[in-house]
């Protein structure tokens, strides 16, 4: 009976029936929670009681006036620094591995390997590597003759712990960025490079004038992901240090989760989430602004 309908009618039916469930899911698990979040952020709901007392902007005031909450963002800064380093290394390897090179595929496969590894397992693995007395990193440093560094407590020192954790992130995601950069390099038409060669450009000049400018959109995308990733770090410190020592490695999202689920302060946690969302949108806007300023592409 479906086959005898006019195609216009069929089209309507297909559009509606094919989109209903997917859009319902999108709405239910992405947009509805987001709207709820906005609503909760104006209440001091504890997460279980039926009444959700309206408190207006009190939660937002609390976030901005409590230096303790914002200080947590300083911990996220380490992830941003390491993220930038990670992108630089990724671009370097991508450039090398796009050229003719013996064992090119071997290197690509191995450098990408950490990305597919289970995050929790990776966290534990580094827990062992970073361990002060049993850890293999300190043992390695000792073997290399850097005994001055060999009893560093990588996860137990306040100024160091975030950089140690963030370097784990670098280890895990560098290859991912690299593969994306390789893909963007391959999308650059070959004849541009040949033309540059004929014009007598050196390899450095080619890199600065042709390769990097052509990779710009992808670099920007990756930088956006780096910044938002740095803002949203959760699993590494959660698994590895539980935020310690003395809260020194607690990240913002971890704080949000703790506020909600451990301290039953859904209202405040929601306000913190909304503020994070604003930061992400802010980063995106800044980037769009810089992007359009620097000309198209």
């Amino acid at each position: 009976m479906f086959g005898t309908m006019s195609y216009n009618k069929q089209k309507t039916i297909i559009i509606v029936s094919f989109l209903t469930i997917p859009l319902l899911l999108l709405g239910l698990f992405t947009y509805y929670p987001a709207i709820k979040l906005v609503y909760y952020s104006f209440t001091n709901w504890d997460g279980y009681s039926p009444e959700k007392p309206w408190v207006g902007l009190a939660n937002y005031r609390e976030v901005f006036s409590n230096p303790d909450i914002f200080k947590v963002f300083q911990h996220n800064f380490a992830y941003f620094v390491m993220g930038v380093v990670q992108n630089i290394i990724a671009i370097y390897f991508a450039v090398i591995l796009s050229n003719r090179l013996r064992g090119r595929n071997f290197f690509r496969i191995l450098l990408f390997l950490p990305y597919i590894m289970n995050g929790v397992a990776v966290a534990f693995m580094f827990g062992y590597v970073f361990d002060t007395t049993n850890g293999s990193l300190n043992l390695l440093l000792g073997t290399l003759g850097l005994s001055g560094l060999a009893d560093t407590s990588w996860l137990g020192t306040e100024g160091l712990v975030n950089y140690s954790l963030a370097s784990t992130g670098l280890w895990r995601f560098m290859g991912y960025n690299m593969v994306i950069y390789i893909a963007s390099l391959q999308a650059i038409p070959r004849d541009i490079f040949e033309a540059a060669k004929i014009d007598g450009a050196g390899s450095m000049q080619t890199l600065w004038r042709i390769t990097l400018p052509n990779m710009k959109p992808v670099i920007q995308l990756n930088l956006f992901l780096t910044v938002t990733g740095a803002l949203e770090v959760f699993d590494l410190p959660f698994v590895l240090t539980k935020g310690g020592p003395a809260g020194a490695s607690q990240t913002y999202v971890q704080r949000v989760v703790e506020t909600a689920f451990a301290f039953n302060n859904y209202g405040l946690a929601s306000a913190m989430s909304i503020i994070l969302l604003f930061f992400v949108v802010f980063v995106l806007l800044i980037q769009q602004l810089v992007l359009s300023r620097g000309g198209n592409k």
Partner: protein, 277 residues
């Protein structure tokens, strides 16, 4: 071609690559060698030293038994199979509609999927938690399944690219023969999307297998542990026994690493076609 002479710049390239490979392989190496050591051997040897034998599977036995790893694996398998089947169905449906028809709300729908990616999903869990609970899915395998089945924008972009390469003539000739639009989806579009689906299956399998957050939050029940949460619980009670934890880490890493080495070409393709656009 350059001259075959080795230049300084080549040496720098290879040295940096070898350093990179060393850094990548060092942590897994440490885990592998220690996973095969008995407790006495572990305490008596350097953490970088090779084990006496690579056939000492005692640690793995203990981990499987004490860590409830088998149920962890079977739970995650169920989640992956069910979630992926539905996810692919919904993903291809959305892509078919967005790729073949034009209608007023189309840009809005695509935009909705796009905007969804910038909402930090971890923070909305505060509200999602309530929804899952009121649906009665808390502490059931249904919770992660329903959270994983929604299509995401990368998946839709990937499918749309493939649909664009399927000639519209195929649809039209099917219409001439009187096929319904549903039949065109089922017998032309869906089968021709198989290469994209295969890539997606690999990538999604890895990402679901590696996800810690959703199972941790929505299935705290002991019997519903998946490999990641099982590993977390196991570590919690065996903090000092690093040789056991190493064995557990290894068991959990192995499936994806094996999958990776067999399918790396498709994984690379999937990652790049999803991200560069």
């Amino acid at each position: 071609m350059r001259q075959s002479k080795f230049r300084v710049i080549d040496i720098i390239k290879y040295v940096s690559l070898l350093i990179g490979v060393f850094v990548v392989l060092f942590p897994p190496y440490v885990v592998i060698v220690n996973a095969f050591k008995s407790t006495e051997e572990f305490n008596g040897s350097s953490s970088m030293a090779m084990p006496q034998s690579f056939f000492n599977f005692d640690n793995f036995m203990i981990v499987f038994k004490r860590g409830h790893l088998l149920s962890g694996f079977s739970n995650i398998l169920i989640i992956i199979v069910v979630a992926l089947a539905l996810n692919i169905l919904f993903g291809t449906m959305v892509a078919y509609v967005l790729g073949r028809f034009s209608f007023k709300l189309k840009p809005v729908i695509f935009g909705a999927y796009l905007v969804a990616t910038i909402i930090p999903s971890i923070t909305t869990q505060v509200a999602t938690f309530g929804i899952i609970k009121s649906m009665g899915l808390y502490n059931t395998l249904g919770a992660p399944i329903i959270l994983y089945i929604g299509a995401d924008v990368i998946q839709i972009i990937l499918y749309l690219q493939f649909i664009r390469n399927i000639p519209v003539d195929l649809d039209e000739s099917a219409m001439v023969e009187g096929a319904s639009l549903f039949k065109i989806y089922r017998s032309i579009i869906f089968p021709l999307l198989t290469p994209a689906t295969a890539t997606l299956v690999i990538l999604k399998t890895i990402s679901i297998y590696n996800d810690m957050y959703i199972p941790y939050l929505y299935m705290p029940k002991q019997s519903l542990g998946v490999v990641t949460t099982v590993l977390m619980r196991f570590q919690g009670v065996n903090t000092a026994d690093w040789n056991l934890i190493c064995a557990a880490i290894l068991v959990i890493l192995l499936p994806t690493v094996i999958l990776y080495f067999f399918l790396q070409r498709y994984i690379f393709e999937g990652v790049t076609s999803g991200a560069v656009k």
